[in-house]
Symmetry: C2
Subunit: 585 residues, 2 copies
């Protein structure tokens, strides 16, 4: 019983080991992360099309929930770029931007997504995430990064960009080039230039002032915070709000109330698919960040429990007026580098954000939206990895197709269609490949008892024995292909009296494939050709043993292919009394 | 060029061999098949909810089109039970029963389905049909047979049954039990009883009168024709129409005009999915009948060309006012037994039906619909094969699940949902299985150089060498499973210094799996364990050779597993100078 509690509440495990050292580490990390998270939380609320305070709400309770249920010591949960973009495209079709219904839809989305993650976690369905292949994820994140960057360009240029795919966004930006707002562009462009520079130039500069490498690296990450402070001061000093520069404006002070959306029915079903996609993408992103950071400390995370942790975080976000959250790379790396030792660091960060929400929101009112947009652009451009196109092209056509289709469809038709297409295409390509398996005629590598493809190796064969290796499990999608392929190969070996199917790669024979084997057995019998099997695996043999196939089989089942060929040769040679005639090298 | 013509027009091939003998065989077969087809054509029009004459129209031009483009010598194309049922369920939601729009939707469905089949044929996409597994087809045909039989019970009882799934049908029949029409029931029940008896009792009776077995068997198949003649005469003699027995009534005499539906736009897209399902089901049914009959004559059919033949037949049906058609089992077996020698028999049959449509329709007016319903019920009950549930249960859980879900969903939610669910479930089960591959620790069967599962065989292992066989291709869906499973196994073998992955069953390594292998290689290196591969197949090795993996690999790639273990052993023993310490038997 206690083991089960520990499984669902990892805090019972690490909580016992908690001491003064870990407390100090966690508190220090929390201070740094809090400062970093303020602009990030606001920026992702901006990206999701939601009021600024929802970004702060999504950065409080979810962190506490994850600290209770999550297994990673370094993961920082909260609003992240891709999930915020997905939230915007899920909610836009069901509610008007800026309306109360829009906010409630985002809240509902967090609740639905949280519920699904919890359900998957209880059912231990973390394996579902493995159906998202690396190429699909890489393509999706790259395309999302591009869309996010372009969508934020409008804020930097001082025009209104809209649309959830690349062409709509570019079209709406280009149609407004005359409306370009120079003061906004100066602020936004300046922030952008500073942030790009700070990624590579700030750390060396700090080190030259005598800071240690680690301190310099941590401080260099505060570039966005510096940009926020400097542009806010500029906006206050020059009264940029009055000159038409969009500012964050008044954020209601205080903590979120616990509420549930008031109007559920009409939206409910339309958001289900979006919630599913957000859950899966969020889970995959979070787990891959979690694995990466855990590996650096030789720790492990438990994916099925991570589902519960993220589910709880999303439900917590929903009940406190936030939107969907997950573990993000950039925020987690800050947490990790700042020395967070346990999930408690997340809870302390939540406390920090709560203090900001209570007492510091007036200071944020002067912050230009262009600065936030600039921080988003710089953050997401590091996600864009067009090199995956080249790497997958070098590797193989189907991986490349999965990447290219995911990137293309995401850019052209939006994030949801993009990721769904990517998954379907990669599954379809895999099924297509297994439906047309490689089959090789094999012969013995002289003197070894090992059998290899006659087209690749110098091997010995006999004209009356056809050794055929099938490089795939036999199942419905390839059963008839294998059957007709076998007859096709037989036409090239007209003297064949024995066919030995080498089943080293046959991991399964389903009912459709069994019927195909029975048909092959009958057809070969009519041509007076005997069918044998070799190297059938234990699990496959168990299944065949329950059927009549082994009785009907005209030949035998051999443990090794070498043994099979030996025995069949002896049989044939006894019949003919001529032991060497048929050898071909 | 001529080869291509022959591929698309098989008539150029068999036409040259046409002679007086084949002409006589074909003509004789055509006469018999024509007589059989008249009630069948009317019955399936009734089943599809269409006017009687459309059944005749669907039995003329399509036969000629198939004769030109098809490859089977015995297949008879026309309205069949399952496709007629699918037509009814596709058209019912988009047009009112009995309206002109209903007929036009059925015509459009034939055109769409024909167009899709032609497209698949030109693109040689016959392989698509193999994604329908045998269990799914068997389950679908069985469930469809039950639905059809129940749907026709209303005509036999003289009440109106409606609905496209079992519960709706049964519900509507039971709610009307008071409206039972006794004269109809007497005619229909009598026909039903006679038809059931004629399936088993008629042939022996005819043989006792001195007929040869073949002649008796052919004549016994005319049971439906006898029932039609006798009940029509009864209806005329007793004036059953006036007593409320539903008769076929006046059928417009003459040949169909060439027309296209007048109003296309609103229906078009709603019928697309139905047309796709009808195309695939029709193709699979037709090809399996074609294969069965071709095998009996040691002929072969060309599936990709069959797509063109069936596509042309459906387009021909559509332009001549008919509905979707395909090659049916019962009609083809009559054609085959009657001795049809070439596809020309089909064209002659079309001529026979045309003569009936021109001159004999007044004779059909007296035919009771209950008789037609009885012929359908008897025909489809032979399709019902509930034994597939037991056979698949005995075979394996996933085949059983595919059958049970297909039957259940088809009965409860209708044919289209049923077949779609069946395909998706069988693919999902296959993917699920391959996402959690079997992995076996193997050891040498003493003195053989062959390696087998340590849990199934008496084998030799060494505590510092872990030989691991992965029984599946490595791809994105199982990459992380294999990785964590490998670490799990390693925990049970703490003395391991070398892991040798035996890749006999690994037919593919995709980019996601390569990343997993790289990660395994790094993780093992950190624990000072060397990773080797053995028996990597040619195609897989070709792909790996293009990457940096082989350079990064801490160990080697061996051609045979035996060789790998030998070499690694020698290496280790040299290092330790103690050659026997580690042996475990």
């Amino acid at each position: 019983m206690q083991g089960r509690w520990k499984r669902y509440l990892p805090i019972l495990e690490w909580g016992r080991r908690y001491n003064r050292d870990t407390l100090v580490s966690d508190l220090l990390a929390a201070v740094i992360v809090t400062i970093m998270l303020i602009p990030q939380s606001l920026a992702y609320a901006l990206l999701a099309g939601l009021p600024m305070e929802t970004g702060l709400y999504a950065s409080m309770l979810p962190l506490v929930a994850y600290a209770l249920f999550g297994t990673s010591t370094s993961l920082s949960v909260g609003p992240v770029a891709v999930v915020s973009l997905m939230t915007a495209s899920a909610v836009a079709p069901v509610a008007e931007a800026g309306s109360v219904a829009y906010i409630e839809a985002a809240v509902l989305l967090a609740l639905l997504s949280g519920g699904m993650l919890l359900l998957f976690g209880v059912l231990r369905m973390g394996f579902l995430a493995s159906f998202l292949s690396h190429p699909v994820i890489a393509g999706f994140i790259t395309a999302s990064g591009i869309i996010i960057a372009v969508s934020q360009l409008g804020h930097v240029l001082g025009v209104r960009g809209s649309g959830d795919n690349l062409w709509h966004l570019l079209g709406s930006l280009l149609s407004q080039w005359r409306a370009l707002h120079w003061p906004t562009l100066l602020i936004g462009g300046g922030a952008l230039a500073f942030l790009f520079w700070s990624r590579s130039g700030l750390q060396p500069l700090l080190q030259r002032t005598g800071l240690s490498q680690r301190a310099a690296s941590t401080l260099a990450r505060t570039g966005p915070v510096l940009a926020v402070i400097v542009t806010s001061l500029l906006a206050w000093w020059l009264d940029l709000g009055a000159r038409g520069v969009a500012l964050v404006g008044e954020i209601p002070a205080g903590l979120p109330g616990f509420t549930l959306p008031s109007s559920i029915p009409p939206l409910w079903s339309e958001l289900l698919l979006s919630a599913l996609l957000i859950s899966i993408i969020g889970f995959v992103e979070s787990v891959s960040v979690g694995h990466t950071l855990a590996a650096r400390r030789r720790e492990r995370i438990a994916p099925d429990q991570e589902l519960i942790g993220l589910g709880a975080a999303n439900v917590a976000s929903g009940v406190s007026g936030g939107f969907p959250v997950t573990g993000g790379f950039s925020r987690s790396i800050v947490n990790f580098d700042a020395g967070a030792a346990t999930p408690a660091a997340g809870a302390f960060t939540a406390l920090g954000i709560a203090l900001v929400a209570l007492f510091f929101t007036p200071w944020l009112a002067w912050l230009p939206k262009a600065t936030l947009a600039a921080t988003i652009i710089v953050a997401v451009l590091s996600l864009v990895d067009l090199g995956i196109l080249k790497r997958s092209w070098d590797y193989g056509l189907s991986d490349f197709a999965a990447v290219a289709i995911t990137i293309g469809v995401t850019l052209l038709l939006g994030v949801e269609t993009g990721v769904a297409c990517g998954v379907l295409v990669s599954l379809a390509l895999h099924l297509y490949k297994t439906s047309r398996p490689h089959m090789a005629v094999v012969g013995e590598v002289p003197g070894t008892g090992h059998f290899r493809n006659v087209e690749r190796h110098q091997v010995i064969t006999r004209s009356d024995i056809l050794s055929l290796r099938i490089d795939e499990s036999l199942y419905f999608a390839n059963a008839s292909f294998v059957e007709s392929r076998l007859y096709g190969i037989l036409e090239k070996y007209p003297e064949t009296r024995h066919v030995i199917l080498m089943c080293t790669a046959v991991n399964e024979i389903d009912l459709s494939a069994l019927e195909a084997l029975e048909s092959i057995n009958r057809q070969l019998a009519e041509r007076e050709i005997t069918l044998h099997l070799s190297e059938v695996k234990g699990p496959v043999m168990d299944v065949l043993a329950h059927t009549h196939f082994l009785e009907e089989l005209t030949g035998k089942v051999f443990l090794s292919h070498h043994h099979a060929v030996q025995q069949v040769m002896e049989m044939e040679d006894e019949k003919r009394g001529d032991p060497v005639r048929n050898w071909v090298i």
